[in-house]
Structures are given as structure tokens and as C-alpha cells.
């Protein structure tokens, strides 16, 4: 149906690791049973910590909002993945390379998996909805980018603005070895993904959409194309109605049954289907990086510091498109995600629709348990993932893969001192890292400067453009952990920047403190001076007053004396008269 011939641009650099994807695509996506306890970290996204809406002891229903988008800035809401009781809100180790703890909500499930009345109202006729309404729904549902960046989708879509995006790029490349969650999603739920894309296109008023899928996933490409055909044919027919039954997978879990019951939504035909195109891109790591995929599909290189919508582009992951479908059409917040559990440390590698907060160990158990090769636990893929210390950690929104494997199979470069096969040798400046770098950096120069802690020079070599894809480390004949140096340099530079900001704030605060002290002193002195003045004035006034009073006293005394004198004289005169009178008698 599509007559467009999509030209592809060649990616620069890149590597061809062993992909190991077939291990986990042999079985359909399984719904897990409900784990007895879920550990839900509050910080699962880029942005501020969300505001807690529940307290210890609360009974929550499935889908109930546990924490809402922070009032101070961007973030994402967190919902209860199942019904149960909040038994604790405490610091627990979170899946982060530091192995540090973060606030987590601990939810003991009651096994009922009861939505209560928490389900959001389905917006099946989303094409009648205003963009604001859809954005609000996406925010409400806590949708974040599931490609790994976990940036709040609502913020990304809202900042793109309506009508600015000409080409919507949907990232289904999934270039990292071992991970197959997007592949399985596209194979099994292609129609839902397409509906999700249609929502995005409606919301953004995008003119066209390119779905980039690596050509090592022919089943996914076929599924997407056939979904496009079905939905598009319905669209062309005008009033054909198709059922988007997302819960066709009849698993034992409560989740599937209720999504089946609820998602029998009649989705109107997809009018935008002719403008959506599935493009097979050559298999090459890291073609799944958003900027790389954008270049492969459109030839546009998004420069540093430029937002892609200003170039008419926006990139979303297929998983995000699916979550948006669920949020809008099924009214289901982001409480579960598809996670690949794989590696030669796992008995039966496969994909699960896992509830957020499910401990890794629970998933491993569902996948048949460990083999004797379980030596390392990695969240994400082997190229960019992070090594984690324990399988008690929970699935978070970013967790696309749990890779448990032996050190040898991964060809890990972990510098075992006993291993002189893979000893770190000095850099021989062979330039292979530079050839592998998809962003045209000079990893070798950055490495020298990072090692010398000359961070200014590292920044001059555009460290901030590094996507930490690991291609340079992968090809290094000296086994130098280049990406670790870059991550170290990045975090260290950030820390230094924070320290610089703090020190300039401290300087300002101190200056203000000094100023305040000086002002207070000046004010005090002014006050004292005023008081003194007032006192003096009073004294002066008092002195004047005393003088006046004295006169009057004296006058009074005088007057009194005069009065007394006069009285005396009068008495004398009277006595004289009496005497005179008696004399006269």
C-alpha cells in the first residue's frame, strides 16, 4: 500500500556484537503470577521525586495512584501494580549503578488483583479528544519513555507542541544484544502499537510516521505491516470496525483476564495508516539510539542542544507507544512492562509482562530458575546495562531486560587480576574506538584527559555528546574500560559543577550575611544614636522644666510666705484691735 520508498542513511561507526536474541523469543510473552510483595521505588523516571499519596497501612486497589507528579517540577506518577496493603515506605536498594538506597513503597499483594474503581475511563474515541485531554491522560497514567531514558512522555509531547512535528519516529530498532522485549511486543501486539502511534500522530498532528525496526526482526516487521494493512483497510472501508483485543494471550494471571475483559474496545479504523511506514534498518549497534535512528531514517543529524521538534522530528519507543495505547484506550496506567529475562544463567529465557515492583528473583523463578552459569546480573543489555548486586531488586519502568549470564559468555571486561588474558593494556592509539564511535568523538583522547583528570579538556572533546553506547570499549584491543572513564568524568564534572554552584551560593550568602550584619550593626548604632539623642533632648527638656518649676516653687513659697506674713499681720492687727478694744473696755 505504501508507495513511499524510504531511503536510508548509513550510520557512522557502530559494532556487530553477538546478538543472542533468539534465546528469548522462542516463547510468547508470559504474564507472571502476582508476586506476594512488590517493591516500588518512587524515583523511576527523569525528574523530581513524586509526591506520596498513600501512607503505611493503607489498602490500595490496583491502578490506584501511589504518588503523583511532583508539585515542584516535572516527573511521573506511580501506581499500584496490584491490589494490597502498603506495609512500609522506606529506603531500599534501588536498581542503580551506585547500589545506593532510595525511597520505595512496599506493597503486600492480596492476590485479588482488584481494580476496584481505579481504572481510568477508556477514551476509545481519542480522535475526538483535544490534545490537552490526551496529554493529561498520559500524565495521569505515569507513562515514561520505555526505551531507557524514562523521561516523562507527557512532558516530551507537550514541549513538542501541536503541529511542530512533521515526522514521528517510532523506535523499534532494539539494537542491544539479548534484549527482545520490543521485538516480542511488536510481534504479538502490533495492532495496539499502531493504535498507540495513531494516538501520538493525532496528538502531535504529525504528517507521517516512520517505524524503524532492525532487519534482524523480520517477524516484527511482518506483524506491524499486517497490522497496518488490517487497520488501514478498515480505515479505507470507512466504517469497518475492528477489535483490538490486547488480551488475546490467555494466561493464568489476573492481569490478562482483566485486560481482555476491558480491552475489548472497538477501535475506530486508523485513518493515518497510509502515513505510517515500517522501515527495516540495517542491524548495527547502536542504531537504536534515538539520534542515530533519526539520522538513519531521515538523514538529519540533531545537533547538541537542539530540540528535535524544532527540526520537525520526535522519537518515541514502541513500548511507549504501546503504553500510551493502554493509558488512553484501555485506561490502564503504566503498572507493568514487558521485560526480557535472559542469559545463559537462566533455565528458560523468555519475555514477561511483569508488574512494576516485581523482584527479579520472582521473575527468575518463573523462568525456571538459575543455571550454574549465573555469575552476573545486569539490568539492561550487556553494552549499556548496569551490573546489580542482588536479585531482590525490583523491576522498574526502565527495566527492559534482566540479563543473568556467565562472565565468559558476555565477554565481560571486568579486570580480574588473575585473568591475564584480558588484562588492561596501555592504549596503543590504534583509533579503533574512534572508528566505532557513532557520534564521531575521539574516545582515545577523552580517555587520556579523563585519566589525567583534566576535565576541561575532556569537555573540549565533547564528552557531553557521548551516548555511552560502549562501542569504543567493545572494540578496544587493550581492553580499556573507556565508557567507565567517560561515566566517571561525566559524574565527576557534574559534582564539580554542583560544588561550584554551591560555593558561589555560599559566597553570595556570606556576602549577604556580612551585609546583614553590617546593616544590623548600622541599624543598632542608628537606634542607639537616636536613643541617645532622645535622652539628651529629654534631659535638656527636663533641665529646662526643673528650672521653671523651681521658680514657681519659689514664687509659691514667696507667695505663701507673703500670705503667712499677711496673715500674721492680720492676726497681729486683730490682736491689737482686741487689745485696744479691751483696753477701751
Amino acid at each position: 500500500m505504501n508507495t513511499l520508498i524510504q531511503k536510508l542513511w548509513k550510520m557512522r561507526g557502530g559494532v556487530h556484537p553477538a546478538f543472542h536474541k533468539d534465546d528469548s523469543t522462542r516463547q510468547p510473552i508470559q504474564h507472571t503470577a502476582i508476586p506476594p510483595q512488590l517493591i516500588i521505588p518512587l524515583q523511576q523516571h527523569v525528574g523530581h521525586l513524586p509526591d506520596l499519596k498513600v501512607a503505611i497501612g493503607d489498602t490500595v486497589e490496583k491502578g490506584q495512584m501511589l504518588a503523583s507528579v511532583s508539585a515542584v517540577g516535572i516527573g511521573a506518577a506511580i501506581h499500584a501494580p496490584t491490589s494490597g496493603v502498603i506495609t512500609s515506605i522506606e529506603e531500599r536498594t534501588i536498581p542503580h549503578p551506585s547500589g545506593l538506597a532510595g525511597s520505595c513503597i512496599v506493597l503486600d499483594s492480596d492476590g485479588k488483583d482488584d481494580w476496584g474503581n481505579q481504572r481510568l475511563a477508556p477514551l476509545a474515541d481519542y480522535r475526538e479528544c483535544a490534545a490537552d485531554e490526551l496529554l493529561q491522560r498520559i500524565e495521569q497514567a505515569g507513562v515514561v519513555g520505555l526505551g531507557g531514558a524514562v523521561f516523562p512522555s507527557e512532558v516530551k509531547l507537550a514541549s513538542a507542541g501541536e503541529g511542530n512535528v512533521e515526522t514521528l519516529i517510532i523506535n523499534g530498532a532494539e539494537c542491544e544484544p539479548y534484549i527482545s522485549c520490543d521485538d516480542m511486543l511488536m510481534r504479538e501486539r502490533a495492532e495496539e502499537v499502531i493504535v498507540g502511534i495513531d494516538i501520538l500522530m493525532h496528538l502531535l498532528k504529525a504528517k507521517r510516521c516512520l517505524i524503524g525496526v532492525e532487519d534482524n526482526k523480520p517477524e516484527a516487521i511482518a506483524a506491524l505491516n499486517s497490522a497496518l494493512e488490517t487497520l488501514g483497510a478498515a480505515g479505507n472501508a470507512g466504517h469497518g470496525q475492528i477489535e483490538a483485543d490486547q488480551g488475546s494471550n490467555t494466561q493464568l494471571s489476573g492481569d490478562s483476564s482483566d485486560s481482555a475483559s476491558l480491552a475489548i474496545q472497538t477501535v475506530s479504523p486508523i485513518a493515518s495508516a497510509p502515513r505510517i511506514e515500517v522501515v527495516a534498518v540495517p542491524t548495527m549497534y547502536p542504531s537504536g539510539d534515538a539520534k542515530q535512528l533519526t539520522r538513519i531514517l531521515t538523514g538529519i543529524e540533531i545537533p547538541k542542544g537542539v530540540r528535535s521538534p524544532s527540526l520537525g522530528l520526535l522519537c518515541h519507543n514502541v513500548g511507549t507507544a504501546y503504553s500510551i495505547y493502554e493509558a488512553v484506550v484501555a485506561g490502564k496506567p503504566l503498572i507493568s512492562r514487558i521485560t526480557t529475562v535472559t542469559g545463559n544463567g537462566i533455565q528458560s529465557p523468555q519475555n514477561f509482562e511483569a508488574l512494576i515492583g516485581t523482584p527479579f528473583s520472582f521473575l527468575v523463578e518463573q523462568a525456571g530458575g538459575y543455571t550454574d552459569k549465573a555469575e552476573r546480573l545486569i539490568m539492561g543489555g550487556p553494552m549499556m546495562g548496569i551490573a546489580l548486586p542482588s536479585d531482590g531488586l525490583p523491576v522498574v519502568k526502565a527495566c527492559n531486560c534482566i540479563l543473568i549470564s556467565s562472565r565468559d559468555e558476555l565477554r565481560l571486561n571486568d579486570h580480574d587480576p588473575a585473568d591475564d588474558e584480558r588484562l588492561v593494556m596501555p592504549c596503543i592509539r590504534c583509533g579503533k574506538c574512534m572508528q566505532a564511535c557513532p557520534v564521531k568523538l575521539l574516545p582515545q583522547q577523552m580517555y587520556w584527559h579523563a585519566r589525567a583528570r583534566d576535565f576541561e579538556k575532556v569537555a573540549e572533546h565533547n564528552l557531553s555528546d557521548c551516548i555511552e553506547c560502549g562501542a569504543c570499549s567493545y572494540v578496544c584491543p587493550s581492553h580499556i574500560p573507556l565508557v567507565d572513564y567517560f561515566r566517571f568524568a561525566k559524574t565527576e564534572m557534574k559534582a564539580q559543577q554542583q560544588a561550584a554552584i554551591k560555593s558561589s551560593q555560599s559566597r553570595e550568602r556570606h556576602e549577604f550575611h556580612e551585609f546583614r550584619k553590617a546593616r544590623e550593626k548600622a541599624e543598632r548604632e542608628e537606634k542607639r544614636r537616636k536613643q541617645k539623642e532622645a535622652l539628651q533632648k529629654k534631659k535638656a527638656a527636663a533641665a529646662d522644666g526643673k528650672a521653671g518649676e523651681g521658680d514657681s516653687k519659689q514664687d509659691a513659697i514667696k507667695a505663701a510666705m507673703e500670705r503667712a506674713k499677711a496673715k500674721k499681720a492680720a492676726l497681729k492687727a486683730a490682736a491689737k484691735n482686741k487689745q485696744d478694744n479691751s483696753d477701751a473696755v
Binding site: 559534582a495 554542583q498 546583614r516
Partner: protein, 190 residues
């Protein structure tokens, strides 16, 4: 002979005039060296250098009144930076001034013990303690520079210095060379 003298004098006069002109033309305004020194100081305002704050210390260094090695919070890295700036030899930290701590510290008030005397509020050089008379005080951790100036005035010794708590925000990826030698986890004292 006379000619030679005249030429020399003439040259001297010419270059003298040139230098004089250059001195006026390219005069450096103000005294930015104090600002530059102040930029390098850690701004804890702790006064351990015997000057009341970082700026006075910077002024004193600029005037040559005191060495560059009297700032314990800055430690060796600040001394090195100052040495680079002023083109002098770096010196070891003056032990009399105090000891350098690699771990940044913040003050914390044991609130149940605080009697609300306001003495620490007055002592804080960056106004990072809030509270009122007879009411419990508290430290704004983000603003605290860890200068310890609030410790001596406290009549009930209810202020403790603790390392800045590690979080995922301020965590730094370990430098690869140190891997395997130093455990990544850092114990945070409660």
C-alpha cells in the same frame, strides 16, 4: 662619538615613550587577582585561615600577607590551583590551620537536645540555620558549608558534623583504576 650617544639616547627615549604608552594603553583595570583567588577558595567561610571569611583571605593572599596553604577545607587541590594561578611553589597545608577532610561534611542539630538559644544562628556565616529564640533550630543542609563555626557557641553540644549523605544525585561513578580495590558502596553514618 656624539652621534652614537645621540642615537642611543634617541632610542632610549623612543622605547621609553613606547613602554609608557603601552602601560597606559593596555592598563589592566582594577585588581582582579583578588577575585580570581576568591574564585578558587571553597567559600566555606570557616575562618580557619585566621581571616573572617574567604574574601578577606583572598585579599590577604593578593597583598602577600599570608601564604596560600592556610585553607584546610580546600586542601591540596586548592593549594595547587592557587599555586598555578599565582605561579608560586605549592606548599603543604599549614597544620596549625586545621586538617583537610576528603569527605564533605554538613552540620546537623540534634533537635531533642536543642534549647533554642540562637547562638549558632548568629555564628553561621551563610545563614544556613533557621529557628527562633526558645524554639528548636535546624540546619538547611543544602546551604551548610560544613565550616563548623556553629559548634563552639552551642551551650549544649547538640550539633554534629556528618558526611554529606550520598544519593543518586551526587554519586560519582568510581574511577576505573580504583575498581576492585575500593568497594563502591560507601557507608553512610546515620
Amino acid at each position: 662619538m656624539l652621534m652614537a650617544i645621540l642615537v642611543m639616547v634617541g632610542l632610549a627615549a623612543f622605547f621609553g615613550a613606547l613602554l609608557g604608552y603601552a602601560a597606559i594603553k593596555f592598563k589592566v583595570e582594577g585588581d582582579p587577582i583578588t577575585d580570581q583567588i576568591d574564585q578558587l577558595l571553597p567559600q566555606t567561610q570557616c575562618g580557619q585561615c585566621s581571616y573572617p571569611g574567604c574574601r578577606p583571605y583572598a585579599e590577604a593572599i593578593a597583598k602577600g600577607e599570608i601564604g596560600i596553604n592556610h585553607c584546610p577545607p580546600g586542601g591540596d587541590s586548592t593549594i595547587q590551583a592557587l599555586a598555578d594561578l599565582l605561579d608560586v611553589e605549592p606548599l603543604p597545608l599549614d597544620e596549625e590551620a586545621g586538617e583537610h577532610s576528603d569527605v564533605p561534611l554538613v552540620a546537623i542539630i540534634r533537635e531533642e537536645t536543642c534549647i533554642g538559644c540562637t547562638l549558632c544562628i548568629q555564628a553561621c556565616p551563610v545563614d544556613a540555620i533557621v529557628g527562633a529564640a526558645k524554639l528548636m533550630h535546624t540546619v538547611i543542609a543544602d546551604e551548610c558549608t560544613g565550616c563548623e563555626l556553629c559548634l563552639p557557641p552551642c551551650p549544649v553540644d547538640c550539633i554534629d558534623m556528618i558526611p554529606v549523605p550520598q544519593s543518586t544525585d551526587n554519586w560519582v561513578w568510581p574511577e576505573p583504576a580504583t575498581l576492585g580495590k575500593i568497594p563502591i558502596k560507601i557507608e553512610v553514618k546515620a
